[in-house]
Each structure stands twice: as structure tokens, then as C-alpha cells.
């Protein structure tokens, strides 16, 4: 009996050690993998003169939070961040909502030509955004929306439809028809079925999609660059570019603003991590 217990303890111990070793190994790999990120962090804590004199990676010992302080109190940065939120949140909500509607129709409402419709919508992913710049500019200018937040919200909503429809349609495909038909027979109308039956089931997929869309829209810099020109309307990514002057550089400030600008998406990812993975499984990855 004692021998058996000893062997058992030894086995458990081996198991513990191996688990710890794996975790430590992966932490080490993560540290290496994130070296670029450390670089930005270090750079953001040094002054531009210091970087000019000692180079980006040389630890000169002079750590300063001046870059962060001046940015946090900079009115322009407040404007940029506010605009980024005002664009990203609505655009995420709208694109996910519309993708849900379209995905549901194609997957469940079996319309004729549903697959063709899907193809048309998904082919939007293949269009290089650069060529849309000028026609969209003219269109928004005609509508009087140039230099406002609307073009970015609208374009991201429209362009995001492709991915959102694809993901939601894949998800709804897997929802058994019987569930929905049962509700139909109980006298529920289609909108009600979507709202009360299909949507609650799709929460993980929605979570994953919303996270991806949020990240993508928040990080965009091409559309804000072209569709806005004043600080009141620009977003944070364009703001990072504007920190550099024609005849000056601002590596420290740009690094600091890059860190600040990445915090919202990092936060979203961290919070929705579990949802995200569950959602990907449910929505896109199986079958």
C-alpha cells in the first residue's frame, strides 16, 4: 500500500514539475516574442534628445514619464481619443448588427440566390481600399460630410459587412432549424425569432466578431487620413503620425502615444478573451 502511495505521489510530482516547466518555457518565449513591444515601451520613457544621442535601444538610465504627461494633458490627444471612440463603437455595433441580419437571412430564410448574395457581399473583402478613396471622397463631399466623423463610421460599417456576414452566416448555419421552426409554429414572427431565439445563442460569436471589428476599426489610419483634415475630426492613429514635424522627429512622443493608443484594444481583447475563443469555435472554425 505504502509503495503504491509513494509511486502515486512521485507521479503527481513529476506532473507538477512538467507543467511548471512548460509554463515557464512559454513565458520565456513570450518575453522574446514581445521584444518589439518592450522596445516601444522603453522608447516612450525617454526624451527625444536622449534617443538622438544614445540610440533607441541603449539603456541610458534616464527614464522619464514626460512624454506621457505632456500627451495626457494635450487637448489634441483628448480630441483624437474621443473621435476614435465615437467612430469605433458605433461602427462596430452597426457592422455586427447588419452582418447578423444579412447572415441570418442567407442561412435561415433560404432566399433564392442566397449563395450569390453571399458571394457578392464577401467579395468586398477582396477590394483594395486605396481605390475607393477618391470616389468615396467625392461622394462624402457631395453629401457635405467631409471632415466629420460620419464618413469613417459609414465606410467601416459598409466595408465590415463582408466579414460580419460571413461569420454570422457560418454560425447560423449550425443552429438547428428545428429550434427556429418550433418557435415559428408557436406563432412567433421572424424578427421575434431572431431576437429571442437565435441571438442569445450567438452571443459568443457576436463577442468574437465585435472584438475583431473593434480592433480593426480602431487601428485604421487610411480613412481618417483622407476623410478628415482638422484636429477636431481626426482619430488617434493619424494623431501618431502628426506628432512628427517636417523637420523634426518625435520618437519618444510617438512611442508613448502608440502605447496609449493600443490600450483600448488590448483591454477589449483581455476582457473578451474567453468569449473570443468560444466564439471563434462556434462561429467560424467548425465545419
Amino acid at each position: 500500500m505504502a509503495v503504491y502511495l509513494k509511486k502515486r505521489v512521485a507521479k503527481d510530482f513529476r506532473r507538477q514539475v512538467k507543467s511548471w516547466m512548460l509554463t515557464l518555457a512559454m513565458l520565456g518565449l513570450a518575453a522574446i516574442f514581445l521584444i518589439p513591444a518592450w522596445g516601444v515601451l522603453f522608447t516612450s520613457l525617454r526624451t527625444d534628445a536622449d534617443i538622438a544621442f544614445n540610440g533607441v535601444w541603449a539603456p541610458s538610465g534616464n527614464v522619464t514619464v514626460d512624454n506621457y504627461l505632456s500627451l495626457i494633458f494635450d487637448v489634441r490627444v483628448h480630441s483624437y481619443m474621443r473621435n476614435s471612440f465615437l467612430v469605433t463603437i458605433p461602427a462596430t455595433i452597426i457592422s455586427v448588427a447588419m452582418g447578423t441580419l444579412a447572415g441570418y437571412v442567407i442561412a435561415k430564410l433560404r432566399v433564392r440566390g442566397g449563395n450569390l448574395l453571399l458571394l457578392v457581399i464577401v467579395s468586398g473583402l477582396f477590394i483594395p481600399p486605396q481605390i475607393l478613396l477618391i470616389p468615396l471622397f467625392q461622394l462624402f463631399n457631395f453629401m457635405g460630410l467631409y471632415n466629420t466623423l460620419w464618413p469613417m463610421i459609414i465606410v467601416h460599417s459598409a466595408y465590415g459587412l463582408s466579414l460580419c456576414t460571413l461569420v454570422m452566416r457560418n454560425f447560423f448555419d449550425k443552429v438547428p432549424d428545428e429550434l427556429l421552426e418550433a418557435a415559428l409554429m408557436d406563432g412567433a414572427s421572424h424578427p421575434r425569432i431572431l431576437w429571442s431565439v437565435a441571438l442569445p445563442l450567438s452571443r459568443p460569436a457576436l463577442g468574437a466578431l465585435a472584438t475583431l471589428q473593434f480592433t480593426f476599426i480602431w487601428n485604421d489610419f487610411l480613412y481618417p487620413l483622407i476623410f478628415t483634415r482638422s484636429e477636431e475630426a481626426q482619430t488617434i492613429m493619424v494623431g501618431i503620425l502628426s506628432l512628427g514635424g517636417q523637420y523634426s522627429t518625435a520618437f519618444g512622443a510617438q512611442a508613448a502615444l502608440s502605447v496609449i493608443a493600443s490600450l483600448p484594444t488590448l483591454l477589449v481583447f483581455f476582457i473578451f478573451q474567453k468569449q473570443f475563443i468560444k466564439g471563434l469555435t462556434a462561429g467560424a472554425v467548425k465545419g
Binding site: 463603437i89 478613396l133 471622397f137 467625392q138 467631409y146 471632415n147 460620419w150 487620413l225 514635424g245 523634426s248
Partner: protein, 428 residues
């Protein structure tokens, strides 16, 4: 649906509505239309801290003078090049915008995008205030004035006096051989003679410009810039041969294409390199990093090569233009008058390390190096724009790429030049 879920849904919807309302208000605010003559939108590329500082002084000055409220959208200058074109093409131009004098302005005029400002020019008496050489080259296109010169820069050989002193160099070279032997002395002591940071391509142009100007002269260069001369002419070959001589002798830093102009400037400041051929804005950069004019940096003009050739100075001119589609042209012209004034130009010149176009500007508080540069320009026989402002933008692309390719591998001059000639001809 459960009570909790219903409540949650209701809050979400209300939030959505509230958010939309806020956005609409925000959109209305930022997209507000300017009332007739009391508001002007002046877009410019003086981004970064220096620019912000400068215009924090200049615009209030102008608002006081003219009673017009200013809106000043600022875009990073690289992005500005593209953004302004989209705005012009899309039909929503600002009332004024900053632009580079020379071929770029010319190409906008050729496409009918700009309106002349002759009336404003005479009203402000600028013929007296702005030197003729600047007025002719930067402001006048096809006989009319289109651009208001604001500030300009001069490209010279900026060096670190301490480095030269330690190397035992006492004389500033006045010809090519002198420059080469100075480089040899420096190299022997382990110092990089010339620092060049051409990763953005444009810093390399000054070498090309001065080599051509000093060997073939301003008239030939003008022909090359306008497409009348070809890139495979013997004059161009000769200039590149000289450049190759310096590169092959190891007088440049390793891999110039891998560094930016500020990296080259930093090398000179640290004493690893002796000099860099750059514009006067480098003084603004160095001042910002705590260097002292005269002690930590100074300059000398690019030496003469061919004694028969006139000594020209190279530099970009930053100016202001008025688009044809501007909503408030009357207001724009008033603002232009303000921007032409010595007070406004002084602010910009001092902060940026530039020379003001208005000769009445009081630049006495500028450091000795800048004053020397201003005098250099005033004394030179010709003032020309640097390469990418002197030739049409599409051709400039070809040329800039050629410089970078040449620096990467100077051995095949003939091959590089013949392909450049073909591409340039196509771009013209």
C-alpha cells in the same frame, strides 16, 4: 425574453440613441460652415511641436490684424502631399494652404487649381519687401503671382567644429580637391567624413543638385529639370562620377539608405561623423536637442568645382497658395497679407531655423550660423529649388529613386542613367 434581458436591451437601445445624438451634434459642430467673410480655413503641413508653437503665435496675430477667425488644419507633411490632392480633386479645398514653391506649385497651376494673387501682392507692397530672386523663382508663374513665399531654407555643409579641430583641419575647402583631401584626413582618423541619411530619399538630392550645379551650371540644370536635357547626358555622368569617387573612397557612412536625415545629424552631433549636406532646418533640430550654434555646429557652402560656373544656392521655399475653389477668397487674401508681414515670418523663421522671405523681417535675434546662411543666399548669384521641387512630381519620383539606387550600388552609372532617362522621358 426575461425581464432582466428586456431591461438590458432597453438600456442598450437608449445608449445607442444617445450616442447617435451626441455624434450628430458633434458632426454638426465640426462640420460647421464658415460664415461669409469672417472665417478662413488655412491648411498647412507645419506639424509637430515646432509648427504648433509657431502658429499659436501667428494666428492670433493675424486674427488681430484682420478680424478674421482662423481654422488651421495641420497634417504631417508626407501625408499632406496626398491629402491635399484628394481634397482638390474632390472639390473641397481649404481657403489657403501651404505648399512648396517650384514644380509642384506649377503642376497645380497647370491643372487649374490655383488662383493668382497679384492684387494682394501689390496691395501689400511686396515688390519692395521680397527680394527679386525669390519673387521671380518662387512666387511668379507664367507672369502672375500665385504663391506667397513664407520662409525658405538654404542647403549647406553643416559640420561639427570640434571634430574638425581635433582632426587638425584648419581650412575650409574651397574646391573639390580640397574637400576630398579633407575627407581623407578625417577618414584616416576614423571619422566618417560625410554623413548621409537617405532612407526618405530626399536628403540625397542636395548632393546631386550641387554636383550638377557646380560642374554644369544652373542653365544646364534648369534644362534637365524641365525635360529639355536628358539624364544620360555627359554632364550628368560627370556629376555622378564625382559622387562615385567620394563613395568608393569610403567617405560616406555605411549604408546611407538605412538611416534618416536626423540619424545623420545625430552622427555629426555625436562626433562620429564630421559633416552632413542638409538644409538650415537642421539648426532647428539641433537647437531642440540642446546644441549651441557656432560651438557645436557651423556650416560652409558646397565648394566650387568648375571655376567658370556661377555659384548657386539650393533651398526649398515654403509658401502659401490660394485654390480656385476657395470659399472665402477675400478673407484668404487678407490672411495672406498678414502672413507676408515681417512679424509673422519672424516667428516661423526663428522657430524653424529658416530665413524669412520678407527682407524687412527682424532676424537679428537669430543665431550667428543662421545669419551667415541668410547672407550666403543674399550673396549668391542664383537661388534654385532642390531637386524634388524643381522638376514635376512624377519625374521627381524617378530621380529620387535613381539617387537611392545609385547610392546603393554606384558601379553601373551608365545603366542606371539610361533607364532613368527613359523613365523620366515617359513621366514628362
Amino acid at each position: 425574453m426575461s425581464m432582466v434581458a428586456k431591461k438590458r436591451a432597453r438600456t442598450l437601445i437608449l445608449a445607442g440613441v444617445g450616442l447617435s445624438a451626441v455624434m450628430i451634434l458633434g458632426a454638426c459642430a465640426s462640420g460647421s460652415t464658415e460664415t461669409a467673410s469672417s472665417h478662413v480655413v488655412a491648411e498647412h503641413y507645419f506639424s509637430g511641436d515646432l509648427g504648433a508653437q509657431a502658429f499659436a503665435e501667428i494666428w492670433p496675430l493675424c486674427e488681430q490684424q484682420t478680424g478674421i477667425t482662423m481654422d488651421n488644419p495641420t497634417i504631417d507633411h508626407e501625408a499632406f502631399k496626398d491629402a491635399i490632392l484628394v481634397q482638390l480633386a474632390g472639390g473641397n479645398a481649404p481657403d489657403l494652404f501651404s505648399y512648396w514653391a517650384g514644380a509642384r506649385t506649377q503642376s497645380l497651376i497647370d491643372n487649374g487649381q490655383l488662383d493668382p494673387i497679384d492684387d494682394m501682392w501689390s496691395a501689400a507692397g511686396l515688390d519692395a519687401a521680397i527680394p527679386a530672386s525669390i519673387a521671380d523663382s518662387a512666387a511668379t508663374y507664367g507672369g502672375s503671382k500665385y504663391l506667397l513665399p513664407f520662409v525658405y531654407h538654404y542647403a549647406g555643409m553643416f559640420f561639427n567644429p570640434a571634430v574638425l579641430e581635433e582632426a587638425g583641419i584648419t581650412e575650409i575647402p574651397t574646391d573639390w580637391d580640397g574637400l576630398m583631401s579633407m575627407a581623407e584626413t578625417l577618414k584616416a582618423q576614423g571619422i566618417t567624413p560625410f554623413a548621409l541619411g537617405s532612407t526618405d530619399r530626399w536628403p540625397a538630392q542636395f548632393w546631386f543638385d550641387y554636383l550638377i550645379l557646380r560642374t554644369a551650371g544652373p542653365e544646364y540644370r534648369a534644362a534637365l529639370m524641365s525635360g529639355e536635357a536628358s539624364y544620360d547626358d555627359p554632364e550628368v555622368v560627370a556629376a555622378l562620377e564625382l559622387w562615385k569617387e567620394a563613395i568608393d573612397a569610403g567617405y560616406f557612412n555605411t549604408s546611407p539608405n538605412g538611416s534618416g536625415w536626423t540619424d545623420a545629424a545625430d552622427q555629426v552631433a555625436r562626433g562620429e561623423a564630421a559633416m552632413t549636406l542638409m538644409g538650415t532646418w537642421i539648426t532647428g533640430y539641433w537647437d531642440g536637442n540642446g546644441l549651441v550654434a557656432g560651438t557645436d555646429y557651423d556650416f560652409f557652402p558646397f565648394p566650387q568645382i568648375n571655376s567658370d560656373v556661377a555659384l548657386a544656392s539650393v533651398g526649398p521655399v515654403d509658401g502659401w497658395v490660394m485654390p480656385s475653389g476657395a470659399k472665402n477668397q477675400a478673407g484668404a487674401k487678407q490672411v495672406l497679407e498678414c502672413l507676408a508681414s515681417p512679424e509673422a515670418q519672424k516667428v516661423m523663421a526663428l522657430l524653424q531655423g529658416a530665413i524669412a522671405a520678407n527682407s524687412n523681417t527682424d532676424l537679428s535675434s537669430q543665431n550667428a550660423v543662421m545669419q551667415k546662411a541668410a547672407k550666403q543666399v543674399a550673396d549668391s548669384e542664383a537661388f534654385v529649388f532642390n531637386y524634388d521641387l524643381a522638376t514635376p512630381p512624377a519625374v521627381a519620383e524617378v530621380g529620387l529613386n535613381m539617387f537611392v539606387e545609385f547610392i546603393d550600388n554606384p558601379s553601373d552609372i551608365a545603366g542606371i542613367l539610361s533607364s532613368t532617362a527613359t523613365k523620366a522621358a515617359a513621366a514628362f
